[in-house]
């Protein structure tokens, strides 16, 4: 599919861009490992005092941390860099080049930047996920795995659409880089199952900054507590968000091209 072909091309370019800086890779590895250590140490601290956290058991929370790093890694790998580049391109006008290419501009801006060293986060996430799964053992069957995959995909689409909507505001606002930082600040809340938060915060983390769908819901699938309504809701929300993002993007392009005036 066209998406994957282009993603592959930009990925190769991303690798080559970073290959000049091997020291960076080590630095990022250290950073990510330290971050992971902090997260796991936090868990250890908590489970020294209790055996469950809002009904979540230690191995389930370990799996959740794994999802947190995995999804965070994917976001940092291709979604975030692309959207940051987009806001810059709108500002300095290099978006013009993208708009004269015979390819859907939204597709191009979604895959055009790959921060390759973020695969470290993805890798660490998978490792931790593996550890959590191993401890969860037989309780994760084919149904749970399928639900997990579906929830992950739905969550990914929601997160992507959210980022695109945020970045598209650059067509109207001038200084927008800071808006993207909102997601990073709020994402941290996703290291814990969203159900522990009071209602209003849970709502914000589900529908305003969709952290719940990105992390908690897939983790719920692994823990075997994902219900059909929630998974269905996630899929529905994914479709709605994606469509909304697409329409907003098209409106942004029209505005940029002075079509509305």
């Amino acid at each position: 599919m066209r998406l994957f072909r282009l993603l592959w091309v930009f990925l190769r370019v991303g690798v080559m861009g970073e290959a000049a800086y091997p020291a960076n890779f080590l630095a990022h590895l250290i950073d990510s490992v330290l971050e992971l250590a902090t997260a796991l140490a936090g868990l250890a601290l908590i489970f020294a005092h209790t055996s469950t956290l809002a009904g979540w058991r230690p191995d389930e929370l370990v799996a959740l941390v794994g999802v947190y790093f995995l999804v965070g890694g994917v976001i940092g790998l291709v979604i975030q860099p692309g959207m940051e580049q987009l806001t810059e391109s709108v500002r300095d006008g290099t978006l013009d080049f993208t708009l004269t290419k015979p390819e859907d501009a939204q597709l191009l801006v979604s895959v055009w930047r790959v921060e390759i060293w973020k695969v470290v986060d993805v890798g660490l996430g998978l490792v931790v996920l593996g550890i959590g799964l191993a401890r969860l053992g037989a309780r994760v069957g084919a149904a749970e795995a399928a639900a997990f995959a579906a929830a992950l995909v739905a969550g990914g689409i929601i997160v992507y659409s959210f980022w695109l909507i945020l970045a598209t505001t650059a067509f109207w606002l001038v200084r927008v880089e800071n808006i993207l930082v909102i997601f990073q600040s709020v994402y941290e809340a996703g290291r814990w199952p969203v159900s522990i938060y009071p209602g209003w915060l849970r709502f914000a983390l589900t529908f305003l900054v969709p952290v719940a769908f990105a992390i908690t819901v897939p983790a719920q699938a692994l823990a075997g507590r994902l219900t059909w309504p929630v998974l269905g809701g996630a899929a529905l929300l994914a479709a709605v968000f994606f469509l909304a993002a697409r329409l907003f993007w098209l409106a942004g392009i029209r505005h940029y091209s002075g079509a509305s005036s």
């Binding site: 140490a41 601290l45 005092h49 600040s185 814990w192 938060y197 915060l201």
Partner: protein, 267 residues
């Protein structure tokens, strides 16, 4: 001394103007500074509720009180010099700063305070909001309130001096991010942010008393909440004073060595 006062006043004005300019980033930042203690507040309250009792002497509402106060104390004492230094050295703007007659730390302190002058009202409002939601329980005593202010001032100074010294690492290595990350972890664990220190296992508590981080955030918080009493308060002040001295000496000597290195390497 007049020069110092002028500097601080000037910096306050420009800092305020800059902050108003970058309103957007300010709001984003504030969200982050509220969210982090909030997350731990919720986590630990949940833990204490699931045990049905207290954790380390803290019940759910005690955790609420702790983290709300922590949020404010952290806001007053924190700094971002590590990131600034890295930028300054890479961009080469430090050469200009070195020519100033005043020690550059003063400009940084002034900048720090001026930005907080703007953000603090919002944080206090956030604290009030969180209090409404989480029903914290405060056991304030006039002694605690009186001792809190000097403890806070000392905490700010100790934290700033330590942060500034760590920031100087930028002169010595390009692996600044790893150092910053380790520093951040140490702050997280030993200043009472990831959990009140009473909740930590014993060895970590001992380490926390030796390292400066407890004295930069945790101590004033615990003091205000009445968890440090009597002679312990005085002992705490003593340790803060010791770290203040140590910090000042560190800044002095590491700074000198760093400048020498910077000039040798070529500005």
């Amino acid at each position: 001394m007049r020069g110092l006062g002028d500097l601080y006043l000037q910096q306050l004005k420009t800092g305020l103007a800059t902050m108003l300019q970058y309103r957007g980033s300010l709001v984003i930042w504030l969200i982050g500074n509220v969210l982090e203690p909030l997350i731990y507040l919720v986590v630990w309250s949940t833990v204490s509720r699931s045990t049905g009792g207290t954790v380390g002497g803290y019940g759910a509402r005690d955790f609420a009180a702790y983290y709300i106060v922590l949020m404010l104390v952290n806001q007053v004492t924190f700094s971002w010099v590590m990131y600034e230094f890295d930028y300054r050295i890479r961009e080469g703007t430090f050469s200009a700063d070195l020519l100033h007659p005043l020690h550059p730390i003063h400009a940084d302190i002034a900048e720090n305070l001026s930005s907080k002058a703007v953000s603090l009202p919002f944080m206090i409002a956030a604290a009030a909001g969180l209090s409404v939601v989480f029903h914290p329980v405060f056991r304030l005593s006039p002694l605690a309130a009186a001792a809190f202010v000097p403890a806070l001032v000392l905490a700010f100074l100790v934290r700033f001096l330590v942060d500034w010294t760590v920031a100087l690492a930028a002169f010595w290595t390009t692996r600044v991010s790893a150092i910053n990350q380790i520093h951040y972890m140490a702050v997280l664990f030993f200043s009472g942010q990831i959990a009140p220190l009473a909740v930590l296992p014993r060895p970590l508590q001992v380490a926390a008393n030796i390292l400066p981080f407890r004295w930069t955030v945790g101590f004033p918080v615990e003091l205000l909440l009445g968890r440090v009493t009597g002679p312990r308060i005085l002992a705490g002040f003593a340790v803060q004073g010791a770290w203040l001295l140590a910090g000042a000496l560190l800044v002095r000597y590491v700074w000198r060595a760093s400048v020498k290195r910077y000039s040798a390497v070529g500005a």
